[in-house]
């Protein structure tokens, strides 16, 4: 009984130590996953979101994108190429039309290449609730992203979609 308790305590301490080590020394892959989660959080909008929070999110949104971003996703309005400022502005313009925006990524796979390049693939799920009628729309897509990094943080340079079902 005593031995079991000691073993359990050692296991808990080891797990906590490993978690702390992972948290303090994140790998590039984990950093990129974190960037994706932050991007999704920035784009998302909770019901009755306050204006300061929205302003903060929109200010930080531009920093997620590379100077030039290409988008090849069906149904995405507008051009195929954007500057970071243009894309952030497009997202900001679309937000008032929805009371809730939920962007979530699942099964994310990251591949870090050399020279500050990385690719990311995952299943993106977007839930939109319109501000006027409360109509709910859900979209699930397989999305591939290309990221680049110079001196600063990782930035998203391209978004493309892999069609799951072709009519």
């Amino acid at each position: 009984m005593k031995t079991l308790r000691i073993a359990a305590a050692i296991a808990v301490l080891a797990a906590a130590g490993w978690g702390l080590w992972r948290w303090l020394r994140p790998t590039e892959e984990k950093v990129i996953r974190g960037r994706l989660e932050d991007l999704a959080d920035c784009v998302s909008r909770r019901d009755r979101e306050s204006t300061p929070i929205m302003g903060l999110k929109m200010t930080s949104l531009q920093g997620f994108f590379a100077p030039e971003v290409s988008i090849a996703i069906s149904g995405f309005p507008g051009e195929a190429r954007y500057t970071a400022a243009q894309l952030a502005s497009e997202v900001a313009r679309a937000r008032p039309y929805f009371s809730v925006i939920e962007l979530t990524f699942f099964d994310v796979e990251v591949a870090v290449q050399d020279h500050g390049n990385a690719t990311l693939s995952g299943t993106a799920r977007l839930v939109l609730v319109s501000a006027d009628g409360g109509e709910r729309t859900e979209e699930t897509r397989v999305v591939h992203c290309r990221l680049s990094r110079d001196e600063g943080p990782w930035q998203f340079a391209a978004f493309s979609e892999e069609p799951l079902l072709r009519r």
């Binding site: 079991l4 099964d107 994310v108 859900e138 079902l165 009519r167």
Partner: protein, 179 residues
């Protein structure tokens, strides 16, 4: 005689209460710990790789699978068998955290079309007992690519534009729902 009966009842009751107490408040021994670990491991592996529990979101497979229901996906369904027409399958997106439930309506090489809501397979109308409600879909004929299957949901009452369907690669088939 009476005393023996009473004693037997008391002994049985004691045995049951000991068992119940042992079940809910077990003694933490190495043997018990190993057993709990093994059960947890087998359950986790089964739920991850063999029978994956899923919550259904959306109405595209109604009435067979209702929005908010639960399905268990048997991942080994296509290890030795090819998908068959009329079979409900789960297709994976990037991984298996998100899957789509659809029905196979055509196999590779077959031509598929919808005319006035009726499914045409190689030009011939097909009866689909699993489809309920009115349907007015119109889709020009197309041939299913090699190593692909053509998938459509059962709920044809919804507008065609809002319904996700089409052909997908055989490699995307993740299993079949068993529940």
């Amino acid at each position: 005689m009476r005393r023996t009966d009473s004693g037997g009842w008391h002994a049985g009751h004691r045995r049951v209460s000991t068992w119940v107490r042992g079940f809910f408040f077990p003694r933490l021994t190495w043997r018990y710990g190993r057993r709990v670990l093994l059960v947890a491991l087998v359950t986790a592996m089964t739920a991850r790789y063999i029978l994956v529990p899923c919550r259904i979101q959306g109405a595209s497979m109604e009435p067979a699978y209702r929005d908010g229901g639960v399905a268990l996906i048997w991942r080994g369904a296509f290890l030795l068998r090819e998908p068959g027409r009329g079979q409900v399958v789960a297709i994976r997106a990037q991984g298996t955290r998100v899957m789509f439930l659809k029905r196979v309506v055509a196999l590779a090489g077959q031509s598929v079309a919808f005319r006035d809501g009726t499914l045409l397979l190689d030009g011939m109308p097909v009866e689909e007992p699993y489809v309920r409600g009115p349907c007015n879909w119109e889709l020009p004929e197309r041939r299913v690519s090699p190593d692909c299957v053509y998938l459509v949901g059962d709920n044809r009452s919804m507008p065609m534009e809002q319904h996700i369907f089409g052909e997908t690669e055989r490699r995307r088939l993740a299993g079949v729902p068993v529940w």
